[in-house]
């Protein structure tokens, strides 16, 4: 902790000297936000969509359910395309760590880099078993093939844990000794399982399942709205929706726990989330509103609610932004972003919970989906809503930490690169990512069209074999 104080003092001295932000800071932050925001949408498909695929596969074999088996095969192919795009966008993030943030990697790579080393193994395993599973359709016995897919979501869990560990470490850095601005000692265990690890990790892991579940359910809900009410669509819908519906209440609970952890461990972030200018007790929960000149305006205040939520007592004292030293206090603009993102995340989360509850009631009463078309309409957009929830959640974590990159140790302005025109790099990345995003959507739609036109169409995908059934090839003995 003493080291953190020293780093803080150095920063204050630097700021007092009237240091200007480097020109690279804004484009670097925008590029990181954009590429991370893009990548995070693909993560749930590697982590959780592959789980849905295995559920369908299991059902297909266990109950001789041909529709479920067909779903599993098609889902594995869609997952392959998304996994490929996720892999390359993840590779770019790896490069950006060094290209945009040499100050972070150079000073703290010895600690911060470790979780990524662990992640590398999981990523490797995931890539290998995705390929084996795709290749294994009709080449392996059904159960052997099923088991060849099991490592994929497991590696997804391990990968999520590793990457979130790195992120959580930036929020609550631990497990290192710093002397003279250099990391001289590291305790890997404490770097990985830092103070923010568990609540961030579980929250993100569940979010991945919610996003994958609602997005996939949305696809089949759209099909049902267009009149495709066959068993294939029903099974596809149920596997995805039920998974997401089971996750939602747990996620709300975990989110509540996480927020209280942030209150205890990251008070500055909590003050930004709650848009609280001054430390006090009997703090109301502000819904909406903006922070202008140190005052909250236009917000709807629920008396005592914030203190009750944070400490179960109206007398709970909550630290405000005034407790943060002025030099490292987040600008009102950032506070507004964090506050609004948090509200949007909570609101969309509860909307998804309500959708899950609607389904649960209908299922409990008559073992069927709700009859209303509005249920299908709501599910059709639930995927997009879940993505909004995921993205805003990450905005809370990342923007809420500013102006720090490694809280208490390294300011973002000291982490950023000092050379080159980052705007050009950003423009190139933007252009390519837009093309890749559009390409991914077009390709997935084409796959669907081909399956709709002829259900037997093998549709080759990355990782998978080109020829669907090897026995037809005469050259192979």
């Amino acid at each position: 902790m003493a080291e953190a104080t020293i780093a803080g003092v150095q920063t204050l001295v630097h700021l007092a000297a009237g240091g200007q932000d480097p020109a690279q800071l804004l484009p670097a932050r925008e590029q990181m936000a954009f590429t991370l925001g893009f990548h995070i949408i693909l993560v749930p498909f590697g982590v959780a969509f592959t789980f849905l695929m295995l559920v369908a596969n299991y059902r297909g074999i266990r109950h001789h359910d041909t529709e479920a088996l067909l779903l599993a095969e098609r889902w594995s192919k869609a997952a392959a395309v998304l996994f490929a795009v996720g892999a390359v966008s993840g590779t770019v993030l790896t490069f950006e760590m060094g290209l945009l943030w040499p100050g972070l990697m150079g000073r703290y790579g010895a600690a911060y880099g470790l979780p990524f080393g662990v992640e590398g193994i999981f990523f490797f395993l995931e890539a290998i078993f995705v390929a084996i599973y795709l290749y294994g359709w009709r080449r392996l016995r059904p159960w052997a093939h099923f088991w060849s897919g099991v490592p994929v979501p497991l590696a997804g869990l391990g990968g999520t844990a590793s990457v979130v560990a790195a992120n959580a470490w930036m929020n609550l850095p631990g497990g290192m000794t710093v002397r003279g601005g250099r990391v001289v000692g590291v305790t890997p265990w404490r770097v990985f399982f830092n103070g923010a690890f568990w609540y961030e990790m579980v929250h993100m892991f569940l979010a991945a399942y919610a996003v994958a579940g609602f997005v996939v359910a949305g696809v089949y809900a759209t099909g049902m709205l267009k009149g495709r009410r066959g068993r294939y669509h029903r099974v596809g819908f149920l596997i995805a929706f039920v998974t997401a519906a089971v996750v939602m209440p747990v996620q709300i609970f975990v989110g509540d726990v996480a927020a209280r952890q942030v209150f205890h461990k990251e008070p500055a972030k909590f003050a930004a989330i709650e848009m609280l200018p001054r430390t006090s007790t009997h703090v109301p929960e502000t819904i909406g509103g903006v922070l202008v000149d140190g005052h909250v305006r236009y917000g709807l205040e629920v008396p005592n609610a914030d203190s009750l939520l944070a400490g179960f007592r109206p007398s709970t004292r909550i630290q405000g932004l005034d407790a943060v030293p002025a030099a490292v206090r987040p600008a009102p603009r950032l506070v507004n972003i964090v506050h609004w993102s948090f509200e949007v995340m909570v609101f969309t989360g509860f909307a998804l919970l309500a959708l899950a509850a609607w389904f649960a009631v209908a299922w409990w009463r008559r073992r069927d989906l709700p009859r209303s078309r509005w249920f299908l309409r709501a599910t059709a957009v639930s995927g997009a809503v879940a993505v909004v929830s995921l993205e805003t959640g990450w905005v809370v974590t990342e923007v809420g930490r500013q102006p720090w990159t490694v809280r208490g140790f390294l300011l973002t302005r000291d982490a950023v690169t000092l050379s080159g025109n980052v705007w050009l790099f950003f423009a190139g990345a933007l252009l390519i990512y837009v093309a890749v995003g559009t390409g991914a959507v077009l390709v997935l739609r084409q796959m669907r069209r081909r399956w709709a036109a002829s259900p037997e169409d093998p549709v080759p995908v990355p990782y998978g074999p080109l020829e669907d059934v090897p026995q037809r090839r005469s050259a192979v003995p």
Binding site: T94, E96, G117, G120, I128, G136, A144, V443
Partner: protein, 331 residues
């Protein structure tokens, strides 16, 4: 400890050069196959599809080991060579996603943009990675970082290493695809790829010789290392390369040996670079010992290596066997 980690990093670079090299090279031949080369393109797709991702994961491995084991040197490299590395990163996105999309779309229906993106990035990416490697090898990355952003990769050594990277990729892919064509009894493609493997081998050889001459002036430490301590590896590389070419002509030659020799030639080249440069991390300054992270980080990396050997290597073998045999067992 640091020697183990440095060796692990070098092995990672070697694996990336081998597996991704063959992969990039396939894209190079795809570019030159033209509209009429549907048959060759089909073979390329079939060979790449299942192993593509695993091939490229090696790059992530290298970056992660680099920044954890040698944080300051990593930052020095990225803050100096940001132009070639940034372009390589964008090339990797284009290449990977172009690859994913073209697999789904049947040959003939592919939009020219997807094809062009895939093929061009297959050539451009190894070139820029090679150029960055040349910048490091010739000692142009200052230990404190922020070296000259242009001359650090626009220089004799960088340009030659960049060209060498492209040629080596084309050579590897040419050999591997010849072998694949022979395995599936596709005589026409076999001849097509063999001719190209030969051409690429001669180009790679010529660029290497030119490179040696350039490094003599431009990067004397590397030059002396290559012809001194690393000479056995360099000689092995040349012999293996020549051996591959001889065996490619013989129909009876075992395919596994041809692959092994071609891979060995490239592996020895990369290892030779590492041995020639040792003990320096940044060409001719910053030794691996002075640039090393604290011991606990290194120990953790060694643990990661061990886990990788236990977990990843058998899985990877399973995948390659599956891809080579077309199946794992009777379905």
């Amino acid at each position: 400890m640091i020697q183990v980690v440095a060796a692990g990093l070098l092995l990672g670079v070697m694996a990336y050069a081998l597996f991704a090299g063959a992969d990039f090279g396939a894209g190079f031949w795809d570019l030159t196959a033209g509209r009429a080369g549907g048959r060759q393109r089909r073979l390329i797709d079939a060979s790449l599809a299942p192993v593509w991702e695993a091939n490229h994961t090696w790059l992530i491995y290298c970056l992660v080991v680099f920044w954890t084991a040698f944080p300051a040197a990593f930052a020095a490299v990225t803050s100096t060579l940001y132009i070639p590395l940034g372009l390589a990163a964008l090339g990797i996105v284009l290449r990977g996603s172009g690859f994913a999309f073209r697999e789904v779309i049947p040959d003939g229906d592919r939009p020219p943009l997807v094809e062009a993106g895939f093929a061009t990035s297959s050539v451009v990416t190894p070139f820029f990675l090679g150029a960055a490697g040349g910048g490091i090898a010739s000692g142009r990355v200052p230990a404190r970082g922020y070296g000259d952003p242009m001359s650090s990769w626009l220089n004799g050594t960088s340009l030659l290493v960049g060209c060498l990277a492209v040629a080596v990729c084309a050579y590897l892919a040419g050999v591997f695809l010849t072998v694949d064509a022979r395995r599936t009894d596709d005589r026409m493609s076999e001849r097509w790829f063999r001719r190209r493997a030969y051409a690429a081998a001669w180009v790679a050889g010529a660029v290497s010789v030119a490179g040696l001459l350039v490094t003599r002036v431009d990067a004397p430490h590397l030059f002396h290392g290559l012809l001194g301590r690393a000479l056995p590896l360099v000689a092995l590389s040349v012999l293996a390369g020549l051996g591959t070419l001889v065996l490619l002509r013989r129909q009876a030659a075992p395919l596994r040996v041809i692959r092994l020799l071609a891979g060995g030639a490239v592996a020895c080249l990369v290892l030779g670079w590492g041995v020639a440069q040792y003990p320096y991390l940044l060409g001719d300054h910053a030794t691996v010992t002075t640039a090393a992270a604290p011991t606990a980080s290194l120990a953790m990396l060694v643990a990661v290596f061990c886990a990788a050997v236990v977990l990843v290597v058998p899985s990877l073998l399973l995948l390659y066997v599956l891809q080579q045999r077309g199946r794992l067992e009777d379905a």
